[in-house]
Amino acid sequence: MRSKVFAVRTWKEILRDPLSYIFCLGFPLVMLVIMSVIDRSIPADAGMEVFRIYNLAPGIAYFGLTFVMLFISVQVSKDRTTALLLRLYASPMKPVEYILGYTMPMLVLSLVQMVLCFGASFVISVCIGNNLALGEMVLSVVALLPSVLLFVGLGILFGSLVNEKAAPGLCSILISAAGMIGGIWMDVDGIGGTIAKIAKVLPFYHGVTLARMPFRGSVEGITEHLIWTVVCALLVYGLATAVFCHKMKKDMK
């Protein structure tokens, strides 16, 4: 119950910041349109498939989740530096209720973001005559769920570790990393070498590949991608919870 009350507060705090709309919803959609236009300009015989709508839609949906990380990290760090958390530490709230209170609204926001992204992608796919199927989009959303947990975890982790000014910078590094070596903006498998090796150690490439699988109609390598994505998400979320609780205890020493 307390976590729900806290979640509603977090939801309102984030939604009442206009930047949330610009970055969480607007920016990924703008990127979707721009990249679709670029894709139309690339000759078919160039063999560049990364911006095709069936790759782009799940890629942009993944990219949008990185902004969820940014917003929750700023919110957590902001809460830590204001006296509001001090007041709440004196209340009967338990550490797990803070974590749930931060997580729940982000799950909802992520879902809204993914639905809007796939909705816009569907319209684009119809316009270019390459319709995305509803079932594939739903499966892709399901495949993205572990990544939602990963980015919420990363957001809480960064928000617990650094202040409000440093959090956006730190998140920007990961947003860029997720975009590039996650394979959203470039074909990691096509590049190969060290870049591909690094990409495959991090969870982003696996998360993006997992989200693209329903559109490819192939489940080749699904176990590896699923394990990497789920294990990383659970580890990061667990670490974020531990760090937040540790910081809370430290604040109260």
């Binding site: 204001t82 530490y89 020493k253």
Partner: protein
């Protein structure tokens, strides 16, 4: 039970620095008790220990019969704090802030609306009720800060420098609000302002360098030091200790 708070030999050390040293106090139920001291006297640390925001290094304290360390969950249900810094959710309206804190303390939905309306009326906040907290003036934010602590109907309310940094009119208004609470709940007030302590407190504890130097009613403190003003009594008590060192 006659005492809301019983403190015995409470101590808080941060490494080598002792913030509160061997503090013992008994605070009667329903009284308004002021902790008076200069910066670094240990007032805020005392409040932080009593509200479970920091653990004592040694000693013990009970609030309404519950030990602050071993029964902290029980204590947290009985107390509330209005911290020194304004602690409101900036993007929430005044009403939403009140509903938020009431919800955190588990006030049932059926009582919540009535309680919020009552507090809004009590603090005459009707004109700003739908305004976001971040857009309020300092005085209104302070009022909201206290209202958020009161909405949970605590047995013991801690007011940490409640009128710090607000203008004289807003301060007078807050004094009236605090005075209206006297006798209903136990209030622990920390302040720098002698006038505030003299005007509001039933009893005053004077602290310096983490130690309790004197306790008594404003009148008793003036009599003890043969002064006519509380400020003179305070200076005499605090400087007396300083000279001894």
């Amino acid at each position: 039970m006659t005492n809301s708070i019983e403190i015995k030999g409470l101590r808080k050390a941060f490494g080598d620095k002792i913030a509160v040293d061997d503090l013992s106090l008994e605070i009667p139920r329903g009284s308004l008790y002021a902790l008076l001291g200069v910066n670094g006297a240990g007032k805020t640390t005392t409040i932080r220990m009593l509200t479970g925001l920091t653990m004592p290094t040694r000693g013990e304290a009970c609030i309404m019969g519950h030990n602050i360390v071993t029964e902290s969950d029980e204590v947290k249900k009985l107390v509330n704090i209005s911290p020194q810094e304004t602690s409101v959710a900036p993007n929430l309206t005044v009403r939403e802030n009140l509903e938020f804190i009431a919800g955190i303390y588990g006030i049932p939905k059926k009582d919540l609306k009535e309680r919020v309306e009552q507090i809004i009326k009590q603090f005459a906040m009707e004109e700003v009720v739908n305004q976001k907290a971040k857009t309020l003036s300092g005085g209104w934010q302070r009022k909201l800060n206290i209202a958020m602590a009161l909405i949970t109907e605590p047995e013991v309310l801690f007011l940490d420098e409640p009128t710090l940094g607000i203008d004289v009119l807003a301060r007078r208004e807050l004094w009236r609000e605090i005075e209206a609470l006297k006798g209903k709940i136990t209030i622990i007030l920390t302040t720098h302002y002698m006038e505030e302590a003299e005007m509001l407190a039933d009893e005053i504890a004077i602290m310096a360098k983490g130690q309790l130097l004197a306790t008594g009613t404003p009148r008793e403190l003036k009599e003890q030091t043969h002064t006519n003003r509380l400020e003179d009594a305070f200076v005499k008590i605090v400087e007396g200790t300083a000279y001894e060192e």
